[in-house]
Subunit: 331 residues, 2 copies
């Protein structure tokens, strides 16, 4: 990638004119660990920022087996063909570093979507911490928006910590569930249901329709137990069969209704601003951490202090105080 | 408290000679938000450090209603009267800032223990973040150990985030449960059972004995599903009735067996060293955070950058980079 690297301006112009090739190469720069790539990536992002933000960002979560890729394919096709939108599909799933990414495998299963010129599917980076993956996903959103994608779908597996990260970068959070299994059995982490703006009970087909309808009314009741959301939006519950492409327009209609509801009252922008402030604090924390732990003069000192703390010769608090003093004088 | 404040040396000598009054006053300094108190507290802690560490630190958790205070009283009396030990009871429960502390109220319920000269009960500080409370609890452990307490009991309510903090500062983690209610109903957070070195099913009395025994074998089976611990210790399950003081020596015997098991193989010291390293990193993070956010020159800049990030004029990553550069040049 390093040879024949386009210039910053070539990248920006290319992305703004919708070049998928340059978009992909820029995202690869974002995911690169090389400093030169990182620096160039940041310049591209800054150049794209003024042209970003005009999309709807949708998080989709659900445990493995809920039919996420089939749903994304059906939903994506509806959004593109019936709503005339352009769709980018990203993923946040650091654990997939072991399994080579959930979406990477799904790309073959999302055949019609992957071949649609109005869809762009980007697999999860195959390595990195949650913090790193979350950051590159947010930056990838910026580039995709600048490239003209007005619908961003961010997939995550609802069993780890990544949902909180995804929830903090999307406008709308959709939880896919199955009928006939308790939350417990579905492996959904506590707290995720409270994040959902809508729940879609998938696989409502093949004689499973009644169970799905019962589950729908159960979840509706359960959602009523949660405190009301800030915007006054009441999370919706619906059923669908992604495989048979049934109930999919209804899911989009819920998203659409949500957008009208939150935009009318200013909550849409307010939430984005809160998210921006949240990510600024997260970035500050990550940068502080990196500046401290990558400081070569401190590394030796830190090792010595760690030894002293472990031997009970100094309190961890005093050691931290001393180290921070050294850090601030030596940077 | 500020007038007639003993000197650092008077505090240290007093604590080492077992003065409960000076111990209490030193803990109050630890919990104080005044800088002068904090500085003195740190000097006292450093002076006590070489005389600390020689205790067994036991975490006790369980939801409200499980009988924690009754258990601590029965267990504490056994430890003091039958095992000839000296016991300090502390608590980590930041949420109790609203309810004025779980143990504060319990002190009257722990009447025999509170009046025992070999027991020292210290209520939770009534304010502060989890990080702050955790730190002051760790420092209080140091002082109590220096004052000659060889058994430290740290209580927490098993419903929040404080168990992780407590787990990272104790040698042994005991989970109190009730028979006849699923984990779900007992409100125990997922992951807590995996932290437990032992589970004691309390209230095994008044016709509840059979249910308690059934629960015991269920939990034993459940614990087998977890991956083995590093030390090879297999978590034990037992039943007790704290109210009728039954099964309490057996709980102590498990602690004792655990100590012999982990000390023989060096795991006891290894775990303490890991905990010390963990707390050093936590302290570094807290200090970095404080240095950054309390920097007066940065406060104004931060506000400006936050505005720009929220208006989409700059990426949070670039803003963080700039702010960290300013921070490191201005400190």
């Amino acid at each position: 990638m390093s040879r024949n690297l386009p210039s910053k301006q070539e990248f920006i112009d290319g992305i703004l004119s919708g070049s998928r090739m340059l978009l992909s190469r820029a995202i690869t720069l974002i995911e690169s660990t090389k400093e030169a790539h990182q620096d160039l990536a940041q310049e591209i992002i800054e150049g794209c920022l003024p042209h970003s933000g005009q999309s709807v960002r949708i998080g989709v979560t659900g445990v493995p087996g809920v039919g996420k890729s089939t749903f994304i394919e059906a939903f994506g096709n509806h959004v593109i063909e019936e709503q005339n939108r352009k769709l980018a599909v990203l993923a946040v799933d650091p654990s997939s570093s072991k399994t080579r990414g959930s979406i990477l495998g799904d790309k073959t299963r999302m055949e019609t979507l992957a071949n649609n010129p109005n869809a762009y599917i980007r697999p999860t980076p195959t390595s990195g911490s949650l913090g790193g993956v979350a950051r590159s996903t947010r930056e990838t959103i910026t580039l995709c928006e600048a490239a003209g994608f007005d619908t961003i779908l961010i997939e995550t597996v609802g069993v780890g910590q990544s949902e909180t990260a995804v929830h903090s970068m999307v406008d709308f959070f959709l939880l896919l569930m199955l009928a006939g299994a308790g939350d417990e059995l579905q492996g959904i982490k506590r707290g995720i249901m409270e994040m959902a703006d809508a729940i879609a009970i998938n696989k409502a087909d093949s004689g499973n329709e009644d169970a799905a309808r019962r589950a729908m009314s159960e979840y509706k009741n359960a959602l009523h137990l949660f405190p009301p959301t800030e915007s006054g939006w009441i999370p919706k519950v619906t059923t669908c069969s992604a495989y048979h492409e049934k109930g999919i327009p209804e899911v989009w209609n819920i998203v659409d209704e949500y957008l009208r509801h939150t935009k009318a009252k200013g909550f849409f922008d307010q939430k984005r601003k809160q998210q921006a402030a949240y990510w600024l604090n997260e970035s500050i924390q990550q940068e502080l951490h990196a500046a401290f732990y990558n400081n070569p003069a401190l590394k030796v000192k830190l090792e010595g202090y760690r030894q002293q703390v472990q031997d009970g010769e100094i309190s961890s608090y005093k050691a931290a105080k001393d180290l921070i003093r050294l850090f601030l004088n030596h940077s």
